[in-house]
C-alpha cells in the first residue's frame, strides 16, 4: 500500500510539475531579446521543388505557436499591418481565407513564414524587409491559430471589435489540406 501511494504521489507530482512548466512556456513573455546580427530575414525555402539547396529556418514552433503572448502580438500586428485589408478577419476577400483548412502554400510554420516573408503571387507582398523575423513568427502563430492549428490554450479569444467571424479559441482543431493553386509549385 504505502509504495503505491508513493508512486501515485510521485506521478501526480511529476504531472503537476509538467503542467506548471508547460504553463511557464505558454505564458512566457520574452521581451528584451537581442536581435540576431546580420541580414533581416533568414533565407527560407519557397517550395520543396525549388532548385538548389533547400534551407529551412529553425521554426522555434513552441516559442511562438504555443505562446499566448506571441500569438497575441501577432494578432496586434495583423491589424496594424492591415492584413485584414485583403484577408479580412481571416475570412478572406481579395486574399485567401485564413481560417479555413485549405492552404495554398502549406500550413507548416516555416511555409507560412515563407509566404509572409517572401510574398506570394497574386498580390501577397513580401514583408521580410518591413518586419523582423520575430514579428513574422508572431504573425505565423496568429495566422495558424485562426484555423485551429496551434494549441488551444494559447489561442486568442475575441477582440474588442465588431464580431465578424468566430474567434480562434472557438475554432475546432483542424487538419489542414494543402490544395495548392494550379501550377503554384512551379512559380518561383
Amino acid at each position: 500500500m504505502p509504495t503505491t501511494y508513493r508512486h501515485r504521489g510521485a506521478i501526480s507530482l511529476a504531472l503537476f510539475t509538467a503542467a506548471s512548466l508547460a504553463a511557464c512556456e505558454r505564458e512566457a513573455r520574452r521581451l528584451n531579446q537581442q536581435p540576431p546580427p546580420g541580414p533581416p530575414v533568414t533565407f527560407v525555402s519557397q517550395s520543396p521543388l525549388q532548385p538548389g539547396p533547400t534551407v529551412v529556418t529553425d521554426t522555434a514552433e513552441g516559442e511562438f505557436d504555443d505562446n499566448a503572448y506571441n500569438t497575441s502580438e501577432g494578432q496586434t500586428l495583423y491589424s496594424q499591418m492591415n492584413c485584414s485589408g485583403c484577408h479580412s478577419n481571416g475570412g478572406g476577400n481579395m486574399g485567401p481565407a485564413l481560417m479555413d483548412d485549405e492552404w495554398l502554400y502549406g500550413s507548416k510554420p516555416n511555409q507560412i513564414f515563407a509566404s509572409i516573408a517572401e510574398g506570394r503571387a497574386n498580390g501577397m507582398p513580401s514583408w521580410k524587409y518591413r518586419l523582423t523575423n520575430k514579428q513574422i513568427w508572431q504573425l505565423v502563430a496568429y495566422v495558424r491559430s485562426l484555423s485551429g492549428l496551434t494549441p488551444k490554450g494559447a489561442r486568442p479569444a475575441r477582440s474588442d471589435h465588431m464580431m465578424v467571424s468566430s474567434p480562434p479559441n472557438q475554432t475546432p482543431n483542424a487538419k489542414p489540406r494543402n490544395s495548392g493553386l494550379p501550377g503554384a509549385s512551379q512559380r518561383p
Binding site: 528584451n32 537581442q34 518591413r130
Partner: protein, 316 residues
Amino acid sequence: MHSAFDPASPQAHLIASLWWWMLGVGGTIWIIVIATMFYVSFTKHRHREPDDPQHVSEATHRRMERAVIAAGLVTVLVLTVFLGFDYSVGHALAQHPQRALTINVTGHQWWWEAEYEDPDPSKRITTANEIHVPVGQPVQFKLRAADVIHSFWVPNLNGKRDLIPGYVSSQWFRADTAGVYRGQCAEFCGLQHAKMALYIVAEPPAKFAAWMAAAAQSPPPPADSARLYGQRVFLSSGCAVCHTIGGTQAQAFVGPPLTHLKSRATIAAGTLTNTRANLMGWITNPQAIKPGVRMPAYPLTPLQLEALVDYLETLK
C-alpha cells in the same frame, strides 16, 4: 516641473488651494485627536473611576456624553465646510470654456497621439507626446483610447481624466505661466505604463502660432546623398510601416508621427532625451529601454543606422 504643489493654471491653483486648506484643517484635526488620545490614556486626572469596571458614575457618564456629542457635531460641521469648499471648486472646474483650442488626444500602448482640431482637415496637425499650447488661452482636450484605459494627467495644469474605449471624455485648462509641464499616464495600462509620459509645452501665443505654422509644414527633402540614403532606409525598411513623415510615402499611424521628430525634446514617450546617441540606442534595441514596447529591434547595418539617424536629425 511635475507636481500638483506647483500649479500653473487657474484650475490647478483652485485644486491646490483646496488641498492646502484640507491639509491645514485635516492636520489640525489629527493633532487634536492624537493629543486627546495621549491625554485620556496617559495623564493622571481626577475623573478616573474606581476599580469596578462596570461602574461609571452619573457625572462621568454625562461628561463623556457631552464630549462625544460635541466631537460628533464638530465632525459634522467640518465635513459640511469641506463639502461646501469642494463643491465650489468642483463647480468652477466644471465650467468648460465656450471657445477654446481643441486638441484630440488618443492614448495608445504606450504613447500619446495629439491632433489639433481644425475645420479644414488638411490643416490638422498631428504630433506625439509633446503638446504645445498657448499661454493664457483655454485649451480643450477630447480624450479617446485606442486600446485600453489610459489617464491623461498633467498635475501642474489640472487633475486627471480617464481615456476609456467607447467613450470620449474631456478636460480643459488654461496655462498661465509659460513652461514645460510633465505628465504621465495614471491608469495602469500594461507593460510600459511606467514609461508613458507626455509634456505640455506652454508658450506665448506668438511663439505658439509660429510652432503651429512650422508643424503644418513638411520637412525639406534630404539635401545630401547620405541623408537621402537614410531616407531610403527609412522608407524601405520596417520604419515606414508604422511611422509617418510628412511629404514622404511614410503615412502610417501605428507609431508616433516623426515629421518633426527633432523638434521634440524627448523620444519614446518621455523616456529618453532626444539626442543622437539616444536615438541610435533606441532604434538599435527599443526592447532594452522599454521592454514590451511595440517597436521591434530592427536589424540594421551600422552604415544604415548612421544614415538613418542622419536623416532623422533633419526632421526639425
